[in-house]
Symmetry: C2
Subunit: 333 residues, 2 copies
DNA sequence: CGTTTTAACTAGCACGTTCTAGTTACTGAG
DNA sequence: CTCAGTAACTAGAACGTGCTAGTTAAAACG
């Protein structure tokens, strides 16, 4: 640290080593143009002074942006896994990941604007709730990749799971076990909501069964409410598909409290295959989203768009798989 | 966007408006020095071109750093809440929050180095697992505030909950209900582990009870294992304090599977009061950490250290409260 | 009319880096 | 000894912004 409390700069190292700034730059970047002994000496002095290159200055100097911006919601475990995947893809390729959290104090618009302000070459939005028009406006300046939501906006690309097919897998699994009365808890305005509903309806029709849809939400509480409403019916369905794992967990609680056993009396199926589905007391069969794949695809698309090696595409649909656990079984007699 | 695909700069706006860059700067920052009509015109043109100030250039120009770096683990809901609190405190005070995720692909050292590289004026570390020596080295250059872990390292300040007193509250609540056989699931190497254990031992001693400690971990799985080990004993304790809510949830599952009812036969108490404790099927009494307070304190300390208005302090201990729910009741006869 | 004041605006440097276009100093060939 | 070739190094200009120190031009004042 220099005397005035500011950070160590290249010039400080250069001065201490008795060389020019340019040479220090050559050494720290490891490019040819310095003798081995000078290299050694400069490296040692840099380490002694605790020199760390200033990323902002590097970025400012660079002509082409080397940063990928990610807007995410910290509270969502799903987002955490995606962020992990994005780091895994971007960093080895030499791209910096710039995060901006979407919180109660810092909304989606603020997050995106902050990423623009950091001159990210592309933006990956994990929680696109803004109007398509607004997103399109951003996309006219910077490539935008939306994850887990089918956004129909000019210039916006999206990556999401094949929710429609996922529900087909779920319905087929249950009908294969012999179920005929399968209820789906829908949440139309959540990400993937419309696709999941469509997939359910199509699959039910194909199997010659009547659709049975209840509108709910994506939280455990709404699942619990839905569970109570099912219990109030004259007869229970033999199987219930929750809108997601949270929702399924809520339904299970309501059923358990009423003394209904899962899967003996009612089979229960979640979607997303998050940690909650794998928890020892749930063990939900669940439609698995391949989060690593989603993150990797979004990253690669962002990089491709940033580098301009590839034009705009509309959508990237990632297949789902069914993780079978102990919450599904043949129906009660 | 300019022709070559790069972003709009101040010079672009200045050229389009037929004024100097300096004047654009004056208008954008809203400082005196421009006539109202020029101001209006420049603002309009800036908006038309989609000009967004370059934060990196601003930061580079600024003498004093205005950014607070935060190293966090995305997968931890606890961290998410803290990040939220940090944004709420820092942004209104004009400080930028720079996030760096700690993931499998991007460890704590990488995260901290990235924050240094971004010339943050202070670092808030939500997941300090590095050796105290390493942390001290970082702290010798940049103020470091560690959250939720009592780190004894030169120059490092920490903010954490009063875990010791929290356990005292837990034990007193249970002993007030009449419990005499209270088991504590300890996790010595987790954040707050040693303090929690010490608090438990002290409180038990003060109440004239014998300590009953089982070593476990901070996950649901380890709680489940611990639950099984308790069931293998000749007689169950009448109350169990989980190391945290996750752990308590695991214990509960093991007990439930063995047909043991909570709280009728065994009282169960969690720590942290996270969402899991409040979930409908758990309803744990839990020692609440005031996350908002923790985040606010860490932020304010970071700012104080950054501004140099205040010297180094060692520790900041935030009080805990007990949230009473339905998992605790008087002991079985 | 000359001088001062003030509002409105501009020129140009600095921040820390990278990169181009040099400038040395040394080696080896003729 | 001269000349080219090369390795090792340096000077200085950008990148986009903020700020200091100006420079106009018009109004105010005596």
């Amino acid at each position: 640290m220099t005397k005035d409390g500011l950070s160590v700069t290249m010039a400080d190292v250069a001065k201490a080593a008795g060389v020019s700034r340019a040479l220090v730059s050559i050494v720290v970047r490891g490019v040819p143009g310095a003798s081995e002994e000078t290299r050694e000496r400069v490296r040692r002095i840099a380490a002694e002074l605790g020199y760390v290159p200033d990323q902002r200055a590097q970025a400012l100097r660079a002509q082409a942006p080397r940063a990928i911006g990610v807007a995410f919601q910290a509270v969502q475990p799903f987002h955490a896994a995606l962020v992990d995947g994005i780091y895994q893809t971007c960093e080895p390729l030499g791209y910096q990941v710039v995060l901006s959290a979407i919180t109660s104090a810092h909304g989606e618009a603020a997050a995106i604007s902050s990423l623009q302000s950091n001159r990210c070459g592309a933006i990956i939005d994990l929680s696109a709730r803004l109007a398509p028009k607004t997103l399109a406006q951003v996309a006219s300046r910077i490539p935008v990749i939306v994850v887990a939501r089918a956004v129909r906006a000019e210039g916006v690309e999206y990556v999401c799971s094949d929710d429609e097919r996922g529900l087909k897998q779920a319905v087929e699994h249950l009908s294969g076990l012999g179920h005929r009365a399968i209820c789906f808890c829908s949440s139309a305005d959540s990400g993937g909501g419309p696709e999941r509903l469509r997939g359910y309806r199509t699959a039910m029709k194909a199997a010659g069964m009547a659709a049975d849809v209840v509108e709910t939400g994506s939280t455990e509480e709404s699942g619990y409410e839905t569970g109570l409403s099912l219990l109030a019916r004259e007869s229970l369905p033999t199987a219930v598909i929750g809108f997601n794992d949270n929702c399924a967990a809520g339904v299970q609680t309501a059923l358990k409290e009423a003394g209904i056993k899962v899967p003996d009396e009612v089979s229960l199926l979640g979607i997303d295959d998050t940690g909650i589905a794998a928890a020892p007391y749930h063990q939900f069969t669940s439609v698995r989203q391949d989060v690593a794949w989603l993150g990797k695809t979004a990253s690669l698309r962002a990089i491709a768009r940033l580098e301009g090696t590839d034009g705009h595409r509309r959508a990237h649909i990632i297949p789902t798989t069914l993780t079978i656990r102990s919450s599904t079984a043949p129906p009660r007699r």
